[in-house]
């Protein structure tokens, strides 16, 4: 077990706790930089998607995980960012200003959507964001002058300062923006703004009595979250290369929510874990769909028991049914909330502590004290 001896206040303010942490993160950075050299272009572009989703995750984490405002409409912000960027590129605006303008526009939309958040709480706010997402999807459908509706808006690979970015290098572009987003967000989280968000999440009345202007900090959370989503949207436009209105649907918003909850609410690490999970899930389901009938069928022929093959076919058929995938997402969401509320990140911390204290690990280390009654009267 590694004990951390603090000798200066700066250690708590810094980005990394100590040299050991810095070492591990540097190693991770080197691995991330070297990854494309080891893999085929196909996998590298898939990992780019993980990086983009991680930015989406940071965006939603700020809102859900840190400020405690649940949004079911974040796919709309992704769409606004993507369409704005795609449109600006089409009319000939260079890449960097185009991304910047896309971010500014989504930030402004976030501010506007955030306004009802000042009056609504809990499920009502979530429903408002859902309504917003539906409206925005209609706008994507009908504002054909900009979005080209269902004909779709093609977006080529980025050209920055006259240099066109290859698919492999697109990975580095995404990595850069992910690291930038992580850094900026971490900066906010270690400043008064981040603490104010956490305070609002845990007790609005106490936050207010300590001097936090609820309306301002909720608006900042919404605007910042939307801005990050706009950035992710600009990158996403290149990744999918062809924008259509139905991409930015509610299922995508639910995917983002799944990302932050499975990853672990209230942790930036969780956004990365969650992004990996959300990107890997659909291929895993489709592999299972093909593999289970095939392998059980093989087992049936080798053992001569026909029932096994029939079961395999039934499972495969069930997984292929429309809506089953969404059902599986929902099931995972429920199980995670019930069994591991801190998500993959929480599990990771436990595993790390298990190994670092082996063989002295106590399960009770992570047992929570019972929670005490809290007055609902003032909520």
């Amino acid at each position: 077990m590694r004990f951390l001896f603090k000798t200066s206040y700066n250690q708590d303010v810094g980005l990394f706790r100590d040299k050991v942490d810095l070492f591990w993160y540097s190693l991770l950075g080197v691995a991330a930089l070297g990854l494309p050299l080891l893999m085929s272009t196909y996998y590298v572009t898939e990992i780019s998607l993980v990086l983009i989703y991680a930015i989406c995750g940071i965006s939603l984490m700020v809102l859900v995980g840190y400020t405690g405002l649940v949004s079911l409409g974040h796919a709309a912000f992704l769409g606004i960012g993507a369409y704005a960027h795609g449109y600006f590129l089409k009319i000939g605006i260079p890449w960097i200003p185009s991304v910047a303008m896309a971010v500014v526009i989504t930030t402004a939309c976030g501010l506007i959507v955030g306004l009802p958040a000042l009056r609504m709480t809990g499920i009502y706010l979530t429903i408002a964001t859902l309504a917003f997402a539906l409206i925005i999807q209609e706008v994507f459908n009908h504002w054909t002058a900009v979005t080209q509706g269902f004909d779709g808006l093609p977006v080529a690979m980025p050209v920055i300062f006259g240099i066109s970015v290859s698919k492999a290098n697109f990975y580095y572009l995404c990595l850069f923006f992910l690291v930038l987003s992580l850094w900026l967000t971490r900066n906010l989280l270690r400043s008064p703004t981040g603490r104010a968000w956490v305070a609002i999440r845990d007790s609005e009345i106490a936050a207010q009595s300590m001097g936090v202007h609820l309306a301002i900090y909720k608006s900042i959370a919404f605007a910042y979250s939307a801005g990050l989503m706009g950035l992710a949207g600009a990158l996403y436009a290149h990744k999918i290369s062809h924008l259509a209105p139905d991409i930015f649907n509610i299922l995508l918003s639910i995917n983002f929510l799944l990302l932050v909850i499975v990853g672990g609410l209230g942790s930036l690490h969780g956004t990365i874990f969650g992004a990996i999970f959300v990107v890997l899930l659909p291929p895993i389901i489709s592999i299972l769909r093909d593999e289970i009938p095939a392998s059980l069928g093989a087992a049936a022929t080798s053992t001569g028991i026909a029932a096994i093959g029939a079961i395999g076919k039934a499972i495969g058929g069930f997984l292929a049914k429309p809506g089953v995938e969404a059902g599986i997402l929902g099931l995972i969401l429920v199980l995670v909330i019930l069994l591991e509320p801190l998500g993959i990140y929480g599990r990771w911390v436990k595993i790390r502590v298990f190994f670092s204290t082996f063989p002295m690990y106590k399960r009770a280390t992570f047992k929570r004290q019972k929670s005490y009654m809290k007055s609902e009267r003032l909520r």
Partner: protein
Amino acid sequence: MSLFQADNLSINFGGIKAVDGVTFDVAKGEVFTIIGPNGAGKTTIFNLVSRIYEPSGGRLVFDGNDITQVPPHKIAALGIARTFQNIELFEHATLLQNLLLARHAHKTSGFFSELLFLPSVRRKELEHREAVEKVIEFLDLQQYRDSFIVNLPYGVRKVTELARALCTNPKLLLLDEPSSGLNVEETEDMAFWIQDIKNLLGITVLMVEHDMKLVSAVSDRVLALNYGRPIATGTPSEVQSHPDVVRAYLGG
């Protein structure tokens, strides 16, 4: 000289007059306690003072200024801090973060300087940390510094709330039942701390409390309340033996 005055303060919830024409003033440097049976309106007075509730009548004066119209988030910066009857800590944050949040009223940085974590932000963070660390030492909370509140026992949470209120650098401290839920030993500690807060830090305390032993030990003056109306003021022993107060507690 009085630091805080409530002048004919009233509030109604529907038909209930939760606070009904309450007038009192708290002198600089004293411990002023409000007592009364359950539902007398004590917490409601605190919520009025911290401007969470809008009074239906009356005035609040703090440090010579009328604060009846001040928005709730500006109260801390004026120098009024409070604790809550049902502990309102930021549970999924560490004790240190809880206390640092209490420095919010003293923040000077803007959003963009925080986004880039400019040196000025860092400098200010270290300053906040220093102020917080003094309070941690004062209340002996060192060993819990990095614990998450959810993992802390009830008694420590009570002290943490007190610490958080102190971190705002208040002139007036509102304590809502500081001893509720504490055992005898912890209650004694609380009494010592309240005395230290008054004597060493020179902070004026306005307190709501049920434990008469604690009230007698630390209070300079006591106000007894029943059904939102004041029924007696004076020294702890005067108020305790006042016939109306006895009747209020016995439900006569």
